[in-house]
Structures are given as structure tokens and as C-alpha cells.
Subunit: 900 residues, 2 copies
């Protein structure tokens, strides 16, 4: 509504979080439900945006606030600043997305030199009233009027020193009255104006101070890290104060409608008698389990239980609640849908479906792939005693145990000797890369989720806890210490990257039952199955039913193929033949590369042929009846040769020492030097190899064709597809396809077995995407190679830049997530859309999948669903994640279409 900047709680609702902020929307929802919410109203984010843009609040705001205040005063039966029994209000920020502690809050607005006396009289608590007034002047003075809060602290410290008082509670009412006066003097001295006695002015200025805090440094940094837009603004909630600290019949607490750790139904929470909500959160005093409230105040407990049941039924989800009891009266101060562990998410989704609160489709929407992935990691055994050394940010999930090391070289050294190590650093830099590769886990004392350590560890799939601020790392002394313990190099620690915990010693690992369930083939769980497995099984069934996209796996060995199939893969989307060129076959590959003539090369290729054929037979057998997309050799040949620098150094050393030159090494060095490429990623690889190295394509295709024949003769149903990598232009594809066709025909003619192998191409270079319309004239399927496509579209290679500057880029807000993790929709995604649209325009119904790592990334899977892909292919372990997310994506798209 234009020009309406203030909403009474009874006017709002939870679907208005954009306008009222999350807190305001939920307060309004509770008020509308008839729950006991202290009266109040919300100033909209729109008003904040006007203020931020123009430096002035909207002109209508003051009048609208007055009108709503009057309504509130009527409801409360008291007026703001009323001398005999003043209404006090809190002024709290409340943005659309939670930004805990990042903006300002001002309590006890309405107190002044007169109303403080009225409050004291009304509550019968003089000291309480003056303490509240003291806090208001301090808070207002620093937050609104800009006096350095250290100045207030030093005045307070002076008074305490006079009284030899250790803490505030030892000050009496007289001290507090003096303190208020001294604070007011301080404000006048520092700012040239007096602390405002007019409650309306207090309210007005506090509101604007909350607006202003949206652009405070803390808030801006937080938003950048959490990727919250800068132009949303915050709402301001103005609400009658209630007091949990008026005696033993008062108190504050937090509650959950189910156990957020396991999902178990029931009432969970903490209660702190005779305290304000802030004290519960601050954790200064020890809380009691919420259940004890039943004995302390059975009526309020019963009332709270009712409210919680009502909220859960209403929100149809786990709710997280803050409440205060003021002299045996329950007040609800906040609610929201509660955070939970992955296990709880699956459990709650199942329970709510069973209870009829939500549909199975909604249940599916309540879980996600990252949560499923977390359930698949092994975890530390929580049954034994574990000494928590430190807490940090859970930056890269999983659990790892190892000996502590403090530099990269030591990590590499010990790891080379077979020892498992945990690299501990204040923060990591690109120089630490070898050590990170060598370590089981990385632990840092500084930096957040976008720090170098976090970004690189996630990229590598290493366990990482970062920003463990309690640690003091001393690399010179080869130790780190917590306030209680010192850990030296070689001591063993356990790092839980899912929870952000570090334990002393080796904590035993327990396998994930969810992983075991998938490893066993995802069959319906029996009686003895754990609850989480039952929950996961149910959700997987719903996801498989809902999804349109197929899920395939990237697998290069029969073992991986078999695992992928157990995990639910519907074929292999990418079988990399280069992995078959490694190991003990290196010498054959080397012979092929070093061949002096066609004859030598052919001999080497002929030796490789039966090995490749046997590989293919194994994989086709493991995937019998399902498609197996076999990619022709992709990497530059020099990858199969030794590194130029290492070899040069070896040869030079031999020469310097006057050793007889090793002829093979000399020849090898000549070949490596000749084939050295400044930028191998942009070099002679993929289809280019196939077009330049005689016989290579023919050998590989022949191996595939003969494997198909062998499988057919053995009664199998092999479904091989041949994929040409790194195509730029349809002409390249045409030439290779012609050769593929010739070989297939030859094998077919020679064996009398029909071979229906579709021949398709990777779309992994911008030019291929831009000319997909032509390429589709000849290609029978597309597979989007979004790893390479990301590298070339952005012009950076993962190996080179991830460690060097991704954390800086995430920090500066250039990336929201690494484009190698989640597909970049504007750039790479646009090329994907062009390739899909123009490929299908040429060849309607063209089968298109994706085989980059994005195939296993939840957000990317949703994008691929929306783009109309036929399948995603990912590593075997990510297959369940992709199945789940493909189901969720289909559901979300259907709902979006239905306009829900």
C-alpha cells in the first residue's frame, strides 16, 4: 500500500516478511493467531529504504507512528512516558533475512527523569527502575547520540571502584541515580545536547538509529558474506516491554517444538527464572531444562505448551520460540521456523507427512541434497567421552583424525611416510597448497566460510574447520594452545568439519548408516533399520517419483560403475578413458607417444587395444542394460609423460655429476620438451588429438565395438555411446564421426553383430555452445562439460586460480559461490541455454545431459531441470544428492507453474 509505513501487529502476517522483516511478520502472525503477544507495531523496510535513499524518513512516518502508538497505549492501558505508570517500549531491528546481532536494539524507551519514578512506584521496585533508566541513557547515548561507549564504561568503572564493587549488582539505588546523572552530563559534554526527556523524541530517534545501523560496518560485512542484498533495508519493531526479571514468578526462555538435533517430537528448550531474554542468549547464567517450568509455574507451562502446539500446527513445521513470563503471565516474543540438523530435517519431514500436516510433496521440499550428503559422511562416535578442544566454523564437512603439523613441508613429509596429518595454521595461503593436499584436514584459527582454507578445502573435498578463535597457533614453537591445553606437533586431534568441532586424541569414527543403506543398494529398510535410514528411504522414493531428469554417474571402472548403480545411477554419463591409460599401462602409452614411425605407434596402440577392450567389457557388464557414455581420450598426451622441470633437473644433475646419460631419459626429455605446452588446458587435447594422432580414435572405437560384441555374445545388453570431447566446430565432429562409423562398420562386418552406438559430443567450449545448432546436425547427443565450459567462459583454470584468488573474490563479493561449485547462471548458464535451445531447434528431442561436477550440486541441478536437460551425471557418491535435488526441482517447477 502506497504511503503506509506502519503496520499494527494485527494488520500483518508471516507472508509479509519482505515489508515487515522476519521478526515483525512472525509477531504479526502470532498476534493474528490470538497468542499472547505484547502489543506493538512495525515500521516497514520501505520506510527504511526511503530513509537510506534520501537521508530523511518519509514525511508521513511520524504521524503514522503516533497513531499506532495511541492504539498500543489504549491496548496496554498506559501511555508512553506516563508519569505514574509509564508504558516502556523496545525498538528492535528486523530484516527480511536474519542478521543476528548485526544491527541496533534500544530497550526501555519511555523512561525519563519523571517516569522513572512512576515506574519504580508502579512495579514497587525502585532499584530496578533506576537500573533500567541507567541502561536506556547509556544505550541511547552511544547508539543514537554517538558517544563512544567506552566513555560510559569508564564512568561506571569509576563508581564501582569508589564502592570497591566487583559488579553492577553491588551498586545500590543511590549509585544508580548518580550514574544516570553522570551519564547525562557526559552526553551533554560530548554532544552539546541533552539526553532527550521527551519519550516521543526518544522513539523517533531510536527508530532512525536502527535504520542507520543497516549500513553499519558490521552489518555490511555480514551481508556481503551471507550474500544478502544491500538494498533491502530493515524494518523496526516497536513493542511494549515485558519483564522477565521481576522476581521468581518471572523468567525468560527459548523453546523448540521438536528436538532440532534428532527431530524427536516433544518440548525442548531452556528456561532462566527471573531474567530477561537477553540473559538467556548471552549465556551468562545457567539455564534449566524447559521441562522444569512445569514445576515452577504449571499454568504458564501449560499455556506455553498450548501455544507451541498451535504454532506447529499453524506453521506446519518445527518452530523456534522466545518467550517471557512476567509475574506469571506468559508473553510470546518471537517465533520462526527453526533450524535443524540434517537428520532432524529428514525425520521431521516424515513425521509431519505422517501426522497429515503436510503433503508428501511438501515433505520433499523440506529436505535437501546438502543435508543428505552430510548424512552420508562417517561421523565421530558421540557415545564415548570426547574432549572438545575448540569450536570453529564448519567449513568443509566430514570427519578426520591425524597428527598435528604446522607447515606445508612437514605435512608433505609425514604424509609421504604414510602418516595421517592435520594441517594447523592461523590462516592458509597459496603456499600451503601442497600441505593441504597432503593433509586429512585443515584447521585454522582465523577466517570464515570464504577464507582461503575453507574455499580450497571444499574444492578438494578435504575436512576443514576454520576461524577457531580460541586457538593460539604458534608455528615457530610448533604448537597451538587453547585456554586450557597445549597441543604439540605430532599430537593427534580429531576434526569434525560438519559440526565445526575439534577433539583431542583420536575419536573413533562410526560409519554412516545412510551410506551403508545406499551401498547396499537402497532397498526398503527392514525392521532393524535406524530411523534416519527409514526417513531417507521414504524421501528418496518421493524424489524418484517426482523427478523428470535421469541421474547418471561419472565412472571409469567396473567397481565405480557397480557402486553408482547401487546408488541409483541410471547409466554412466561420463566414462573417462584416460584413466585407463595410467598405472602399469604408462609404458605402452609412452611407447605410443615416443613412436618414431607409424609402425611403432601401431604396435603400441595394438598392445593397448585388448586392455581397453577388457575395461569396457567390465563397465558395460556392470551397467548392463543402461547407457554408458564413453569419452574418447581427452587430455594432452604429455600428461602421460614425466614433468618437464623434474626431468630436466634429473638429467642436468646426472650431467653435472658426469654420470652416463640414460638414453631413455634423454629421449624422453626431448619428447617432453617438444610436447611441452605453455597452457596445456588450451592445447593439443580432446578431438584435436584424435584428428592429429593417427590410429588413436580407431583403436579406442575398436575397443568399444569389440567390447559390445563380446557382451552381446555373452547374452548381455550393452548400451555403449561414444562421445567426442572438446569439439569447437561441427567440421571436427564430422571428421571424427566418419572415422568412428568406419570402425564400427568394420567390426560389425567382421563379427556379424549389429552395433547401434550413438555418437555424440561434449559441449564444453564457448564456441561449441554458440554453434550448437550446427553441431546438432551431426551429433546424436550432447553432454555439457560445465567444468571446462566454466574455465573457458571465465578464462581461468581451476588449478591455477582457485587457491590464488577465489577466497579474495568471495570476500569481495565478486562471487557468491565458486563458479566451479555452482553453475554461473548469467555467463556459463546462458551458454548452456543457447546450446540446449539451438541444439534442439536443429534436432528436436536431442538428448542432452551434463557431466561436469555441477551435476551433483543442488542449485545447479535445479538450473539444469529448468533448462530442460534430460539427465545429470555426477560422481557416484553424489548420485543420491542429485536424485533428491532433481525430484525437488521438478516439484518446485510444477508448483511455480501452478502459481503456488
Amino acid at each position: 500500500m502506497d504511503g503506509k509505513y506502519v503496520y499494527n501487529f494485527h494488520e500483518g502476517g508471516r507472508d509479509m516478511a519482505g515489508l515487515l522483516g522476519g521478526k515483525g511478520a512472525n509477531l504479526a502472525e502470532m498476534a493474528r493467531m490470538g497468542l499472547p503477544v505484547p502489543p506493538g507495531f512495525t515500521v516497514t523496510t520501505e520506510a527504511c529504504r526511503v530513509f537510506l535513499a534520501t537521508g530523511e524518513p518519509p514525511p508521513e512516518l511520524e504521524r503514522q507512528v503516533s497513531e499506532h502508538l495511541a492504539v498500543m497505549e489504549r491496548a496496554a492501558g498506559r501511555r508512553l512516558g506516563q508519569v505514574d505508570a509509564p508504558l516502556l517500549v523496545s525498538v528492535r531491528s528486523g530484516a527480511r533475512f536474519s542478521m543476528p546481532g548485526m544491527m541496533e536494539t534500544i530497550l526501555d524507551i519511555g523512561l525519563n527523569d519523571l517516569s522513572v519514578l512512576g515506574l519504580a512506584k508502579a512495579l514497587g521496585r525502585e532499584r530496578f527502575a533506576w537500573d533500567s533508566y541507567r541502561r536506556l541513557v547509556q544505550m541511547f547515548g552511544s547508539t543514537v547520540m554517538g558517544v563512544d561507549s567506552a566513555r560510559f564504561e569508564s564512568v561506571l568503572a569509576g563508581i564501582k571502584k569508589q564502592h570497591h564493587a566487583d559488579d553492577d549488582t553491588q551498586l545500590d539505588t543511590c549509585d544508580l541515580i548518580r550514574l544516570v546523572q553522570m551519564y547525562q552530563d557526559l552526553i551533554l559534554e560530548e554532544t552539546g545536547e541533552a539526553f532527550p526527556q521527551d519519550p516521543a523524541e526518544q522513539l523517533r530517534r531510536a527508530t532512525l538509529a536502527v535504520f542507520t545501523s543497516w549500513n553499519g560496518e558490521r552489518a555490511r560485512i555480514y551481508r556481503r558474506r551471507e550474500h544478502i542484498a544491500d538494498d533491502l533495508g530493515t524494518a523496526v519493531n516497536i513493542q511494549a516491554m515485558v519483564f522477565g526479571n521481576l522476581g521468581p514468578d518471572s523468567g525468560s526462555g527459548v523453546a523448540f517444538t521438536r528436538d532440532p538435533a534428532t527431530g524427536q517430537p516433544g518440548i525442548y528448550g531452556d528456561y532462566l527464572p527471573n531474567a530477561q531474554g537477553e540473559d538467556v542468549v548471552a549465556g551468562i547464567r545457567d539455564t534449566v531444562p524447559l521441562q522444569e517450568l512445569e514445576h515452577l509455574d504449571p499454568a504458564s507451562f501449560a499455556r506455553l505448551r498450548d501455544c507451541m502446539a498451535q504454532l506447529e500446527a499453524h506453521y506446519r513445521d518445527l518452530c523456534d520460540i522466545e518467550f517471557t513470563i512476567e509475574r506469571a503471565t506468559l508473553w510470546m516474543l518471537q517465533t520462526r521456523v527453526g533450524k535443524r540438523t540434517s537428520q532432524a530435517a529428514f525425520a521431521i519431514a516424515g513425521q509431519l507427512v505422517d501426522e497429515g500436516l503436510i503433503t508428501p510433496q511438501e515433505g520433499l521440499a523440506r529436505v535437501d541434497g546438502e543435508g543428505l550428503a552430510r548424512l552420508m559422511f562417517p561421523r565421530f562416535d558421540s557415545s564415548g567421552t570426547r574432549e572438545v578442544l575448540a569450536r570453529g566454523i564448519p567449513a568443509s564437512p566430514g570427519a578426520a583424525v591425524g597428527a598435528v603439523v604446522f607447515d606445508s613441508a612437514e605435512a608433505v613429509r609425514r604424509s609421504a611416510e604414510g602418516e595421517k596429518v592435520v594441517l594447523v595454521r592461523q590462516e592458509t595461503t597459496p603456499d600451503d597448497l601442497p600441505g593441504m593436499i597432503a593433509a586429512e584436514a585443515v584447521l585454522t584459527s582465523r577466517g570464515g566460510k570464504t577464507s582461503h582454507a575453507a574455499v580450497v578445502a571444499r574444492g578438494m573435498g578435504k575436512v576443514c574447520v576454520c576461524g577457531a578463535g580460541e586457538l593460539t597457533v604458534d608455528p615457530q614453537g610448533r604448537s597451538f594452545s587453547t585456554p586450557s591445553v597445549t597441543v604439540r606437533e605430532g599430537d593427534v586431534v580429531s576434526v569434525d568439519g560438519s559440526e565445526g568441532l575439534v577433539f583431542l586424541g583420536a575419536v573413533p569414527l562410526v560409519d554412516s548408516p545412510v551410506m551403508r543403506y545406499f551401498e547396499d543398494g537402497g532397498h526398503p529398510p527392514g525392521e532393524s533399520a535406524t530411523q534416519v535410514v527409514r526417513d531417507v528411504h521414504r524421501v528418496m522414493g518421493q524424489a524418484d517419483e517426482a523427478r523428470r531428469m535421469e541421474v547418471r554417474a561419472n565412472a571409469d571402472t567396473p567397481e565405480d560403475a557397480a557402486r553408482a548403480r547401487r546408488f541409483g545411477a541410471q547409466g554412466i554419463g561420463l566414462c573417462r578413458t584416460e584413466h585407463m591409460f595410467l598405472g602399469d599401462r604408462r609404458s605402452l602409452v609412452e611407447a605410443m607417444i615416443l613412436a618414431h614411425d607409424d609402425e611403432e605407434r601401431e604396435a603400441a596402440l595394438n598392445a593397448l587395444l585388448p586392455l581397453q577392450r577388457a575395461d569396457f567389457i567390465g563397465i558395460l557388464e556392470a551397467m548392463d542394460g543402461l547407457p554408458v557414455t564413453i569419452r574418447l581420450l581427452d587430455p594432452p598426451l604429455h600428461e602421460f609423460l614425466p614433468d618437464l622441470t623434474e626431468l630436466s633437473v634429473r638429467v642436468a644433475r646426472d650431467e653435472a655429476l658426469g654420470r652416463q646419460p640414460d638414453l631413455h631419459e634423454t629421449e624422453l626429455l626431448a619428447a617432453v620438451t617438444r610436447m611441452h605446452e605453455a597452457n596445456p588446458m588450451l592445447g593439443l587435447r580432446g578431438v584435436r588429438l584424435g584428428l592429429v594422432v593417427p590410429g588413436l580414435v580407431a583403436m579406442q572405437v575398436r575397443a568399444v565395438a569389440e567390447a559390445v560384441v563380446a557382451r552381446k555374445r555373452a547374452g548381455g545388453d550393452p548400451q555403449a555411446e561414444i562421445m567426442v570431447p572438446l569439439v569447437d566446430a561441427v567440421e571436427e565432429f564430422r571428421l571424427v564421426r566418419a572415422e568412428v562409423a568406419r570402425v564400427l562398420e568394420r567390426v560389425s562386418a567382421g563379427t556379424g553383430v549389429a552395433l547401434g552406438c550413438p555418437v555424440g559430443t561434449m559441449i564444453e567450449l564457448p564456441r561449441a555452445a554458440l554453434t550448437a545448432g550446427s553441431i546438432a546436425e551431426d551429433a546424436e547427443f550432447f553432454s555439457l562439460g560445465t567444468n571446462d565450459l566454466t574455465q573457458t567462459t571465465w578464462g581461468f583454470s581451476r588449478d591455477d586460480v582457485e587457491a590464488a584468488f577465489f577466497s579474495a573474490y568471495l570476500d569481495k563479493g565478486i562471487f557468491q559461490t565458486s563458479p566451479f561449485e555452482t553453475i554461473d547462471r548469467e555467463g556459463v548458464g546462458r551458454l548452456v541455454e543457447i546450446a540446449v535451445a539451438e541444439g534442439r531447434a536443429t534436432r528436436p528431442g536431442l538428448n542432452i545431459g551434463v557431466c561436469g561436477e555441477h551435476g551433483g550440486d543442488p542449485q545447479s541441478v535445479h538450473f539444469f531441470h529448468d533448462t530442460g536437460l534430460d539427465y545429470v551425471s555426477c560422481s557416484p557418491f553424489r548420485v543420491p544428492v542429485a536424485r533428491l535435488e532433481a525430484g525437488r526441482a521438478a516439484l518446485r517447477a510444477t508448483e511455480a507453474q501452478a502459481g503456488r
Copy 2:
């Protein structure tokens, strides 16, 4: 017209080359002009396409050919196969684009066992008639009926042996009669059918044989190399035979209406009395200058001169003519617009404008940038005596003199000692790359314009002659030989890459007068100027007047800037600051890179600052009043450090020999190892460096700003623009632009001088092009870096792949030209179009130029004009080429719009 497959010469015209082929269209044009063309008609390419698609000629074709034949017979007064005086016809291919010698021709159709007698009687030449018949049977038997031509040759050889005859002319009529019989027997034996006696059948089958020859192997290879589409098909010209070999009053010749070498007006050509046209082309007998025809047959000569004048006036261009005189009657057999040298092109364009035959705009269209570039190279002095060693394909223009070497290592060795060398190989491979870099010129005995040597040499701008087939190269013997001379390693040769000639010894070089003209500033030539300079000056004026795009230069030094300005550059489109980091400044750059802390780094940057500032002052002075676009540092920092392998070898060698480790080297090696990138092209460079290395951008911008201040204080008009390289996302640009703005403000505030430096970006990555709409929100100009854009769009780096597989790709028809030479319109060009359209949609009127090497490539310049760019920027030497082509492009676009 639907269903019309045959055109009488009088029905066609030169604008119908698509339907009638080039030869047919021009024959028709001459017939319509009333020139003496032997009667005939053309079967269309459309008929050929039907035949190629269905395997059958269109059903209407036979009837239409009969009708046109009847018309022709009436015109000739004789009938095909007429027993007493047969009409003979030729059946010749004629495609839209000339494919000389690639398809079939069948002459003397109409002869059979009876009509051969009639022909003998009619001409009074029995032997001639039988020889013609013998040729027909042989040609028809092999071409149409598929008998291996070697079989005919061996029959002929047998007869010759019997008569101890060395050549055909020694065979008498009886022998020829026997030969015809033996040939006919051979055909019957080989094919099971007799040589057709029915002239109509001969004609029909000959026509289809020409159609079929379109898809012959030779023709297909030729088309692929020349990039002629496979689906055009050929027309077939059926024309009454005329004979130039009926005695001394007969003959054949070729003629040009102006000198194709210099453009001089007059009659140029060669004449061969008593010969057919084929004999002139074959070069078996020595021709006489055409002028001698005036004495031999004054009437025919006068007639020919009239025809040539008529043709030139009609075609309004140099014409190239073939004619035959049959018993003192002139017949025109072919004409077309003639090929010419670059010098002649400029001269003729000027003359025709002066003669009023063409407009100045048409004159401009008749010359081109590559021709201009050729005129700018120095040439060998043609006045002295020069011994032509060999002729080959002019693969990369220019003239070079050097000592012959036969391998890469020797080339490198001698060149390192300061000797100029010419690398001679049978053909080159990637292994020859170092030698090619070291050599002045490359000469090969094998391979064409798309061979490895040709492609790589063109890419490097090296002189190259390839495919010099007369050479026998003996690398082991370190010599090469021609039939007459042997040249040994170290002997000096001169290589003319523009003409494809190799001379023995050092031929003196003469400077290009055209180059001198540009070097002198392109002022109006004086009295003493050579004609070619006057011609060029006139054309440059027309081009500058016509063009819409500006032309800037890529220049990094004051000297280059000054030269570019003399060559007509209207500013600097790309000033690479990295070139200012080389030479004796390396140690400062090294100090910056190796800095242990901010202080050391700042000290190094501060030392670089005055040097950079002085560079900029010099360049801004040279380009005073014109824009100078300065690009911030682009390449990865490790490019300024030693090579990893070399350094590792050095350190390893020292270690092995027990030498004291050089501390600096050890530190350097650590830095080089740390900064080593697997793919530097895709690494930490461009804007990424600016965002990661503190102080770098600030130092560079400060140097620019202070240079502007210095120039302004000196009374100059500096127009500096700051360009950010390698931007992927608007967020990167925004961060750098903010820093640039801060520095500019600081310098402006400190000096009191206003600094209006626009800040723009390179668009050189696919993602930048795809998100150009967002980037234009902040960037004040775009410069398309099409080198890098080509590398990333195609996913190959020029350094890595050009030598490795470009020649194979050109050979296989995957490329038409290297995408680094001429912009790839489908892929890279599409990104350019997106960037231009979406950039300008955000910021109307956005200034956009190109600074890749494509800026100096003629075809690319036309594309950039069409895409609406504001300017192209290229190397100083290409500025005249770009000016000329920008003018031509504007003209062509205007004409296309006017529908001309």
C-alpha cells in the same frame, strides 16, 4: 525460371554466374555484345545439382538440349554428326568459382566412324580428322566410360614402338586409323559396350560425365582448400569447336587489356600460331608476343583490338581473354576480369576513374588492404641480374636474404651469433619452431598455402615460400639442389615471399616507395613521386573520406606512437603497460614480486612510478590531442621472473657440483615455484592481479594521472583513457574503478588540475561478452580484445596450438583461415555482436573499439564495420590497411543498403 535448364548464349549474361558458371556467363555476355563467339549454350548448375542429388538428370534436360542444339546447328549451318561436314562441339565444365583443371572437358564430340571422313574432306586434312577422332575416343573412353587412361597410353606406346616413333606427330594417318580401331576394341573389351557412334548419345553422356566430375577427388580436395561450397555444382558449356591448328593462318592466344603487372594500358598477351588454346596454356611450344599478330594477320589483330576495347569499356575493368583464329577468322573463347598485381590494381583503379569508366567509389572497391600491405614491403631490386633458383608458392610476403641452414638447431645457433639464416626443409613440423623463429625466411619443397610452414610463418610475419617442388632437399648432406645447381649450408639465398621466388646469392633490397610515403606522413606526393605512390595517395584519400570507423594503433612507446600518427592513426587503442616493466626495470619488478611485506612492495612500486610516468608523458606527447587508451598491467607476474625449468636446472646443477647456493637464486626459485601456473593464460592476471596485489593499480593510475598533469602544465592536450583488462564480471570492474577514481581524485586535489580520464574495460572473455549489459552500467568504454576472446571461445591458445595443428585443420577444411588471423564470425563474432548490442542497450552510444590483431585484418575490419564498432586499433604498420578497409567496408555497406 523453373524447369529451364539450358540457356543459349544469347539468353544469358555475366550476372548469371551462379546459374551458368563463370565461363558460361561471360560467354553469354560476349555473345550479347555481338562479339564473335562460336555458337553454343550452357546447361545450368541447377541441372547439375538435380543430377548430383538424384543420380538422374532432370527429365526435361534432354529435350531442352536437343532444341538448343538445333538452334546452334542452324546458326553454324552444320549438324552434329553430319556426314559430309560435321559440327563438332566441346563440352566444358564451368563452375561459379574458377576451378582450373579440376573437372573434365571433352572435345570433338560429334565425330564417329562416318563423320570423321566428312571432317577430313571438309577441312581437306585427313590426318587432322583422324587425330581428332583418336583423341575423342581416348578422352571419352577414359572420362565417360571409365577405362583406365593408362591402358590407352600403353596401346599408343605400342604403336609408337612399332614405328620407332618418339612422339605422336611421327604417326601417320594409317597409324591413327589403326589406333582408333584398337581404342574402340579396348573400350569394348573393358566395358562390354562399344564406343557410341550416335553424336547425341556422346553429347548426353559427356554432359553427365562433367556433372559427375564435380565430385571427383581432385575437385573435392581443391574445393576444400579453396573453401568453395560443395553444393554449388558446375554448369556445362556446349559450344561449336573452332580450330586454331588448321595452318599458318590459324592460331590461339591469351590477352590482357592492360599490363597485369604494372597496370600500364595497352595490349599484352601471347600468341601461338597454328595451335589450339590448350597448347598455349600447356606451355609446350614457345609463344610470341601478341603484338606480332599485327604482322602475321593485321585484320584479325585489328578485330581483336576492337573486341578488347569493347570488353574493357563494357566490363569497366582489366579483362583477360582467350581467343582462337581459325583460318583468319577471330573467335572469342573466354573472357573474365583479370587478375593483377597489387601495384597494377592501384594503377588501374586510378586510370579507370580518370577515364570516367568507373566512379571513385568503384575505384576504391577495386583495391584492397592486402594489396596495399604487399606494396609496403621492401622488394628485391629487379633491375640487376638475378638467378632464379626455384619457384614455389608465395606463402608469406616480404623479402629476406640469409645463409641456408637445414635444421632448427643450426638456425638457432647461427642466428644467436648474429648471422641471418634461411631455414630450408622438405616440410616443417612443430619441432622446427625454434628454427623458424630464428630464421629470416622459411623455404620448403613440399606443401601448399595451408602447410605447417606457411601457416606458422604467416602467424609470425616471417617470409615463406613453400612447395618449391624443383628443390631436392638433403638434410643429411646439408644441401639442396635444383636440376642445375646445388646449394650447401651457409650459401646465401634470397627469398621473395610475395612472388614465391628464390634467388641464388644476396639480391639487393629496395625500399618500398609506398612505405616511405607513409613514413613521411602521407602528404600529397610531389612531382617526383612514383606513380604507385600517387595511386595509393589518391585511394587513401577516398578511403578516409568514405569510412565511418576511426583507426587507432596499438603502441607502447613514444616512437611507435609517433610512427602510428604518421601512418594516420587517430589515437592509441591499446597501450600495453607491461612492456614498460621489461628491460632494465626487471630488477624493480622482481623486487615488487619478491617483497616480504607491504613496505618492501611499496618501495619497489615507488621506484617504478617515475619511470612509468615518464613513459606516459612521452606517449601522450606523441599523441597530443588524440585518445590514448592505457591498459593496466595484464600478464601474470611470473612472466617477469625467470623460467621455472631453467632456474631449477641451474640451481640443481650448482647443488650437484657442491657450489655455494646463491641466496638470491634460491629465493627466486621459491618465488617462481610458488607462482608457477599450469596455465598462465588462465591464471592470475589482468584485473585479478589488480585486485590481489596491493598498490599496483594505484601506482599505475597515479603515473597516468601525473603524466596528464605534466602534459597539461606543458600546454599539451593529453587524452588518456584507463582500461581494465580481463574483466569477467561487473563487480571486478566496479572495485577497480573505485580505486582508480580515488587515485585520480587524490592527484587532482593535490595538483589542482582537473582529470577527465574515462575508465573502460576490455571485453576479452566470453563471460564479459555475455554480461556486457551489466558491465556497461559501470564501464565508460569497451575495447574488444579479440585475441584473448578467440583463445577462450575456442579453448586454445595461439602459442600452444598454432604450430601443433593449425595446418592440419586448414588442410582438413575445419578452418577457412586461422581464427587468429580473421575473426570467426559464428563463434567469436557472435559474442562480439552480443557485447555490442547489450552494452549499448545499457549505455546508448557506448564507445566500442577492437584492439586485437583482427583490427588490422581486412575481412575482420569489414565485420567490425558491420557490427557498428567506433574504431579498430592495430599495429602501426597495419594502420594504412585498416584505413583502406574501413573505407571499403563503409562503401560496401552503403551500397548494400542502397540495394546495388
